[in-house]
């Protein structure tokens, strides 16, 4: 019996997302306005569901433009979602602060989760103490004109935390936590006086200074030299253990995802095509796209360097404005060409995420009984 994936939150679930969509409107040209053509959208995130348990490192992987960063930014409300549910289980601190502001948050389940998608932007400020982001580019995320101390103190000032001495203590502790020692020395410096790795540590310290528990890390090491990547990743994992953090780890590097994440969702063109425990997904990939991604990981054996590998994928990513009908991977799918049995489904109906083995979901007509799945879809 095919089971279609829906998030099933438990006591341990910190965040779950249901059918999340983030579409960006395109500007309409004069002719389109005159002919009253409907507004067109970039479907950056196009119906995504997943859930994250406390202490997870949840990987979002896929090639560039697949919507992984947009998903990450949407779940912490850096970008407004178009539709869908972002359910987050708040700490008491957040609820207290909202109560103080006279705001009653929209509770959506028995566990007391709050639908962040419905929180108006003026009440988002307290949420920043719960959820933070680490950016990819350590050069663009620090103001080159501000000293490290000012950069780290800024969030504290904005949230009105502590006296001047206390804030100094907080900043010093945050710098120590990310191993920028001695902190007094680093506080006085400007970003250009730091290396890429040190800058990224400042980025992490900035994310941590408000003591959040949920962090979106948007390719935090992809712009760093390979030699310091491991250090930064280890630091992140150590902080996770010590502070009880939960990470969403956005990456395009499957080897890295395997090293650091415990669950992973593979995205293609705004949708999750495969999801499950990282080891299971990467050791036994089911979706043709995941297979192609894994085949694309370079072979470390130098004896094989002359072998031109043929990747099981064709063509280019289609535009996120005109998403292909049916399965969105179909135009690039090699399996589709060789499997006439499922072609009529691929052409017409978008495959849902179904459970193939325990905790391993895939969205492809190859698995399960298509008619049966369609029946349960209708229900």
């Amino acid at each position: 019996m095919a089971r279609i994936y829906v998030p099933e939150p438990t006591e341990k679930t910190i965040l779950y997302v249901k059918d999340l969509k983030t579409w960006f409107p395109l500007r309409r040209g004069i002719i389109e306005v005159l002919r009253r053509l409907p507004r067109r959208y970039v479907h950056a995130v196009d119906g995504v569901s997943f859930q994250i348990e406390e202490g997870d490192v949840f990987g979002l992987a896929g090639e560039s433009g697949c919507g992984k960063t947009t998903t990450g930014k949407t779940i912490i409300r850096l970008i407004d979602p178009t539709s869908g549910v972002i359910a987050y289980k708040p700490r008491k601190r957040l609820l207290d602060e909202w109560a103080e502001m006279g705001y009653e948050p929209p509770v959506i389940d028995k566990l007391g989760s709050i639908d962040l998608a419905k929180v108006p932007s003026k009440y988002l400020k307290p949420l920043r103490k719960e959820m933070q982001i680490i950016f990819q580019d350590p050069y663009g995320s620090l103001n080159p004109r501000a000293r490290i101390y000012d950069i780290l103190e800024e969030p504290l000032l904005i949230h009105g935390i502590g006296t001047r001495e206390e804030r100094y203590e907080f900043v010093a502790k945050a710098l120590e936590a990310v191993k920028l020692i001695p902190p007094e020395d680093f506080m006085r410096r400007y970003p250009h006086q730091l290396s890429g790795g040190q800058r990224q540590r400042v980025g992490i310290a900035r994310a941590l200074i408000l003591q959040p528990r949920f962090i979106v890390a948007d390719e935090p090491v992809s712009m760093l030299d390979v030699s310091i990547r491991a250090e930064i990743l280890e630091l992140m994992m150590e902080l996770k253990r010590r502070l009880g953090l939960t990470y969403v780890f956005i990456t395009h590097d499957l080897a890295l995802a395997r090293y650091i994440t415990n669950k992973i969702a593979i995205m293609y063109l705004g949708k999750i095509v495969e999801m499950g425990d990282t080891r299971r997904v990467l050791e036994n990939p089911l979706h043709p796209y995941t297979k192609a991604l894994i085949a694309a990981v370079p072979d470390p054996d130098p004896r094989n360097r002359h072998i031109l590998r043929e990747l099981p994928i064709k063509g280019e990513v289609p535009s996120a404005v005109n998403i292909p009908r049916g399965c969105r991977f179909r135009p690039r799918c090699v399996v589709y060409d060789n499997t006439p049995r499922i072609q009529k489904y691929c052409q017409t109906i978008e495959p849902p995420l179904i459970e193939v083995e325990k905790g391993h979901y895939v969205s492809c007509w190859l698995y399960g009984e298509p008619e049966e799945i369609i029946k349960s879809l209708r229900k």
Binding site: R128, Y139, L142, N143, R145, I158, H159, H192
Partner: protein, 299 residues
């Protein structure tokens, strides 16, 4: 990545100046010329050989226009006043006009440009139209219009130049601020709830400043020439005031018979424009090495 880091470091004006001083002879020459002129402007009234003549009072024994001699290094003008004294005393006014015009236009331009880029939406549109309208005005036309409103004087020079120059800085600031507003640190500040005007002053303007300041330094020469031409047309300072532009104007009637009366103050205007431009151009080239000339004349 190292390339980007290099660019970022240059955005700092102090580092930029130090670097230019170390690496560029043109910059040194420009600094020496400008420093000498500024020194002249400060000391002028004290070292002028005939101070009262410098202020515009003719000598008691009229001597007419005389060519340069040991007694009068730069000669005398048609009323017999010592030209060297007039140039020395006029230097402070000539340079001060430039400094005021540049400083005020820079301040207004930087603020308006950054505001326009950062606030987006209708503010951006309206301010951009506004900027473009002001860019279209020539300073001399504005000066003519102002003359009928507030009458001749120094204010005309300052106002007409500020009205026409600020928009250029606003445009440059706007262009740079547009890229700054997309930086992640601006997003982070917004997301942590810092008020927008604080972000403008804390993140946007400081990072937009350097290229605009460099442009302003390059422009000092141009402003000096424009100010001189407004004074030359008789719209600005009074006719016996020793501003360099006015001095050129005074000699204009005698340009064939007594050429030095116009040419020597003109040479000072040229020298000042050259000095400031040399500083500005080298700074700009150091800021963006792609602008550097491939050819060399003698510097």
């Amino acid at each position: 990545m190292s390339d980007r880091r290099g660019l970022r470091r240059l955005r700092d004006i102090r580092g930029l100046i130090e670097r230019s001083w170390r690496r560029r002879r043109t910059f040194k020459a420009g600094v020496i010329i400008s420093a000498t002129l500024i020194l002249i402007a400060i000391l002028g009234p004290f070292i002028a050989p005939y101070p009262s003549e410098g202020w515009g009072i003719p000598p008691e024994t009229p001597r007419g226009a005389r060519p340069p001699s040991w007694e009068h290094l730069f000669g005398t003008d048609a009323s017999g006043r010592d030209l060297l004294s007039r140039i020395l005393i006029g230097a402070s006014v000539a340079l001060l006009q430039v400094v005021i015009v540049i400083a005020v236009s820079l301040g207004i331009g930087l603020f308006i440009g950054a505001l326009s880029a950062y606030y987006r939406g209708w503010i951006e549109r309206i301010l951009n139209y506004f900027i473009e309208v002001f860019m279209a005005f020539p300073a001399i036309i504005v000066a003519l219009a102002l003359r009928s409103m507030i009458g001749r004087g120094l204010m005309i020079v300052l106002l007409s130049l500020i009205i026409t120059w600020w928009s250029w800085y606003a445009r440059i600031a706007y262009i740079y601020a547009r890229s700054i507003r997309e930086m992640d640190y601006v997003l982070l500040a917004e997301l942590s709830g810092l008020p927008r005007w604080r972000i403008l002053f804390r993140h946007i303007i400081p990072n937009t400043m350097t290229p605009v300041i460099v442009q302003a330094i390059t422009d000092t020469g141009g402003v000096l020439l424009e100010a001189a031409s407004i004074n030359f047309l008789g719209l600005g300072l009074p006719a016996d005031y020793p501003d360099w532009g006015v001095l050129v104007q005074n000699g204009f009637n005698y340009i064939y018979s007594y050429p030095w009366i116009s040419l020597i103050p003109g040479a000072f205007i040229l020298l000042a424009a050259l000095g400031f431009s040399m500083i500005g151009d080298t700074l700009r080239e150091e800021l963006d090495p792609r602008l550097r000339r491939r050819w060399k004349l003698w510097f």
